[in-house]
Symmetry: D2
């Protein structure tokens, strides 16, 4: 399956329409920017964009069942994603093995919070609308997500996300960020949930053009590959009465 990944870039798509500044930075939307990059990457067979305004909010069974990995960007409209669709996404990860790559403000999205169980809250600062320096340090240099990535990634302008970040301790901690204003943040985190994998990656913003940064895009592509289902998962049977394998006297 690893050479034939079908990726869906879920993009809230609200900011781009309502905010002139966002439109300037991402005229075709953030989702388009990410999708364009992913399309050219090894191991990825297809990339489509799904949005909140689409039928079924872009989260129909038809879409989910043909998605191996979904990336998720949302910000101002988390609450508008219906509980039914959130549950569908969560189940597709846990029971279907779909990978989920959650980006930036997606930390407060309903599917991510449903998978974590915690508040997923954090500190934040958007310095004068232009941000501040962020430096992402690799703390797990053997992890596939940092393949081809140097020991740190520099972002001249970024929104600060700071600790305490209320998440279950990651199964695999990949990046920790330094911010100019004095904070740290666990900016690259991996978890396993049921048959699926979840990667949270914090850089990204609607008016700072972080999704044009080649290294950030490379990490997202690595994250997509890491989160891909490890195999065709058809045969898991659960929650059933089973007869004994051995005699019970």
């Amino acid at each position: 399956m690893s050479n034939e990944l079908r990726v869906t870039v879920w993009n809230e798509g609200v900011h781009e329409k309502t905010n002139e500044r966002v439109r300037k930075v991402y005229p075709k939307g953030m989702g388009w920017q990410i999708a364009q990059y992913l399309k050219k990457q090894e191991g990825i067979k297809s990339v489509r964009i799904a949005q909140l305004e689409d039928p079924d909010q872009g989260l129909s069974d038809k879409i989910l069942n043909t998605t191996d990995v979904m990336t998720w960007w949302g910000h101002v409209a988390h609450d508008r994603v219906s509980d039914e669709n959130v549950e569908r996404v969560r189940r597709r990860v846990v029971e279907g093995g779909m990978g989920l790559v959650v980006l930036h403000s997606g930390h407060m999205s309903k599917p991510f919070r449903a998978l974590m169980g915690t508040t997923c809250m954090l500190k934040w600062r958007e310095w004068q609308g232009i941000g501040e320096k962020e430096r992402l340090w690799v703390v797990n240099p053997a992890h596939p997500i940092v393949d081809g990535v140097p020991e740190r990634i520099e972002l001249e302008r970024s929104e600060m996300y700071g600790e305490h970040f209320d998440i279950p301790q990651p199964d695999e901690q990949v990046f920790i960020s330094w911010f100019q204003g004095g904070e740290v943040f666990r900016s690259g985190c991996c978890w396993h949930r049921g048959l699926g994998k979840v990667f949270y990656f914090s850089p990204g913003h609607e008016t700072i053009p972080i999704y044009r940064n080649e290294l950030i895009l490379k990490v997202i592509a690595n994250g997509v590959r890491w989160a891909s289902p490890s195999r065709v998962l058809g045969g898991i049977k659960r929650d059933h009465f089973v007869p004994p394998l051995e005699p019970i006297g």
Copy 2:
């Protein structure tokens, strides 16, 4: 706080009323059996029983806010616990630091599943209504939950719970069970979620008198103490804009 634990034993309380056999084994209810034991344990100040039939399903803010650790037993009426109350329990754990000790069929309770994010499904077998031999092996002999417990606990009759058990890998694996009919099960599991701790312990059944077993009760009491909040937690501030600590040029 550790000498003054306020425990609430949440007990579904449906079986005991509708099933003659259950009433015979636990004439005053399973919750009563557990509560009686806990009342006499060191470090525990008070124990009360809350049930599904109580006002607010026994899960009002008044009760939750005066509970340090809650034990949870449910089986046939998981769905009758309201989503609002489930969310209240989840938040009291994650944001308030309340410990949650989930017993037996509570693996399918809504609060446990909301905290785990996975299906929490498993295999099961209730052999001829009387069960089969179970042997709980300690795999973490230094863990406080096995204080005073020998290297294994023998249960002559128990309901089988078997793998695959769909949970996030426990932060601390304490017990693994062997079953006569040929299965294994991760029967004692610890997780941290936000400010709170969760202990799942699988032995227990409505017609096999497992909650009369001294060692099983001892583990539950140890679990209650382990899950207790580590400190008074008043000052966590989250999800707010913060000014920089250092100059941003």
Copy 3:
């Protein structure tokens, strides 16, 4: 690199010479049995056998530096492996990213114990020289090591290994075994150490022909692929004084 894995099967090779029964089961040695299988597997470029009696005990820098993954089988001669060679293996894993797949009685080998830090002791029973039934349950069905493996593997005859097994809790628990005589065992365990990965897999014995079992061999091959270095690892710089990236006032 994943299509070009160079595997070294390290085989103590003492039993096969001194014990008539072992010779009967594995006339060419256990290492040969495993190597024959691995040679035919996808992603593996080359397989060689190294033994205790070889020059440098089969653990020269020349061998290690051209090995991506090493499997390790030892039993009666752990102490004869020199401390210098043990340190060389440990460093090749931690600093060079070599995968290590430790088999059966290799749990007491010096390289495994040096990587774990614990005693790695366990319970054992070799029932009447012929063993007893073992059943390996998959507890992590999405793990690449169980690709193509059913929910359990049955071994009619196996040596019992039982808990408590004194290891750091595995980063990824893959298998837990059930034994006919009443024990359980964490039989498939994964850890990350520095740039390298370690997989311990307990089935295997010198007179019970377990390394002829197709599913056991499949797990070993999967383990070899899982443990392979995730990338070319040339650029890790450590333990050095570094100048500041930001001005220090």
Copy 4:
């Protein structure tokens, strides 16, 4: 046992004799400074100082067997600690349940490296002999080690320790540090090894008076209490042939 902790502060004690500046900051030695604080803390019964120059390097069986928790500070003389003594310390942790609190440059001490299995290397910078600003952020606010500690600890002057820090991912990550010069560091880390616990805490230096900082001392005391043995550990039997509990047909 928790009210009767017997602590041994192991202090290399070389710097204090050979370096005038160190003597000025810690006239009675760093160990003395730490010991004085610990003596007054709740739950601690006795504190003694052991040094490299003592008989048996302060690591005799007599000392170890009467120590519940040992703190370790070493820097210039790691290699002078004999391998035999290192092994004695490691075994006292793993088999005897002794807690080990490793401070600052102790990350390169032999006992810590033997327990971790990795290189334990890191980046470092001692800016103009006076250091730079460090800010320790709490990333696990419910952990007993941060009891009474605010959400961050500020150090005006500290030696920089930076990632990548080559350790197995901590079982419990407690602190992550921010440094003025641009780095981050996992500065408070917990692991379980056999029956014992290990806490690594990086702040501390021989010429910057960090061990006079009340909050740093409080964390060390909390670490000592966290690392204390969870119970009297007399009965662990391992590595022996055991008869079957169940009939083997």
